[in-house]
């Protein structure tokens, strides 16, 4: 139900903000946050195999460590 998969094949995906190319090292996990090298948008990996990217949610006041 809450399974998490690691993508090993795909190396690039398209940024939903600027259509730029985001590179992946081959060990990509669902839930990971990446930054688009072109526009700097923070993106969340919402699926792997194939990789799907969405704009990461805006930081809320009680976020932290």
């Amino acid at each position: 139900m809450f399974a998490q998969t690691i993508s090993t094949s795909q190396t690039t995906a398209e940024c939903p903000e600027c259509a730029g190319s985001v590179n992946f090292s081959g060990k990509t996990m669902k839930g990971e946050i990446v930054t688009c090298p072109d526009c700097g948008a923070e993106l969340e990996v919402t699926a792997v195999n194939p990789i799907a990217l969405e704009l990461a949610p805006k930081e809320e006041e009680d976020w932290g460590e």
């Binding site: 139900m1 809450f2 399974a3 998490q4 060990k27 996990m29 669902k30 839930g31 990971e32 946050i33 969340e44 990996v45 990461a56 809320e60 006041e61 009680d62 976020w63 932290g64 460590e65």
Partner: protein, 296 residues
């Protein structure tokens, strides 16, 4: 064989390292996305389906590690799990204390652990009076929040009046709990200690030109030698809030020595790991296994 549950919001650097270490060691684990889960809190005959989770699901875990990024979400998840008798790192009461600066300071003070002079006021008028008595500059902090967010250094009366007015219209009732702290001239750095129980896993200096020395705000990190005084205060601070996997932020005061600034209950440890070379993910896993075995 220990089975570990891991509640997470995003897979950050820290979660990635933890998951990799769990996989490498062949430790059975399950990742639980805090955005998807539905807790069957009362579990009195109602079954539900899909993402609805029963206590039995969690009872398969010997221990659950909370890595939620949202304090409130993490805290409530832990409250539910603890009410079901599930062992968690950290325990809900520890997170409740450490997630709130006022409660943290109160606990430290109760256990005679040195921290900066702190005043609490509930109205802008009382806060202004407290600030005037303390003398400028004063540090004004939200009781909840992290990464150095919304922390202000109040340099004079005009700034104090403006800030207090802004805080009172921010909308959230917690912004009207005014947490005021003496401003300490840090030597351009503070100390971040990662603790697991009574053990110090790493200690780093976080240095910045800016008075806010959070690594989330761009501070750089370097290893910090741990002397006996630092070890003693770190251990006392961890015990005061109930102990667990904690990041303790320490300020060096020229005359009063070490002071505990705050304690984080779901530590990020990228800077600590890089600066010290400590294998923090594996130390966390060792600790989880120990808790799974020991704590009733």
């Amino acid at each position: 064989m220990t089975k570990i549950g891991l509640i997470y919001s995003r897979v950050r650097f820290e979660e990635k390292l933890l998951i990799e270490a769990l996989n490498k060691r062949g430790i059975d684990h399950e990742l639980i996305d805090d955005r998807e889960i539905i807790f069957n809190l009362t579990h009195n005959g109602y079954e539900g389906r899909g993402n609805v989770v029963q206590p039995e699901h969690f009872r398969q875990f010997d221990v659950v590690l909370d890595r939620a990024m949202e304090f409130t979400r993490g805290l409530y998840a832990l409250e539910i799990l603890n009410s079901w008798g599930i062992k968690t790192v950290n325990r809900a009461e520890v997170v409740a204390t450490c997630g709130d600066k006022l409660l943290t300071t109160a606990m430290l003070s109760r256990h005679n652990v040195p921290s900066p002079v702190t005043q609490i006021a509930f109205t802008p008028e009382a806060a202004l009076e407290a600030i005037e008595q303390m003398g400028y500059p004063v540090v004004l902090k939200p009781v909840i929040g992290s990464w150095g967010r919304l922390i202000s250094k109040v340099n004079d009366r005009e700034a104090a009046e403006a800030l207090l007015e802004h805080k009172s219209v921010l909308g959230h009732y917690l912004h009207e709990i005014f947490y005021l702290q003496e401003y300490i001239k840090k030597p351009g750095r503070d100390i971040r200690i990662i603790m697991l129980g009574d053990e110090i896993v790493s200690a780093i200096y976080r240095s910045s030109e800016h008075w806010v020395t959070n690594t989330a705000r761009g501070a750089s990190s370097a290893p910090c030698p741990v002397d006996s005084a630092l070890e003693k205060i770190a251990r006392a601070a961890a015990r005061a809030v109930g102990g667990g996997f904690l990041a303790i932020d320490v300020i060096e005061h020229a005359e009063r020595g070490y002071l505990i600034n705050e304690i984080n209950p779901t530590p990020e440890f990228r800077g600590s790991e890089t600066a010290t070379g400590a294998d923090i993910p594996n130390r966390i896993i060792d600790y989880l296994i120990r808790i799974a075995k020991d704590r009733a």
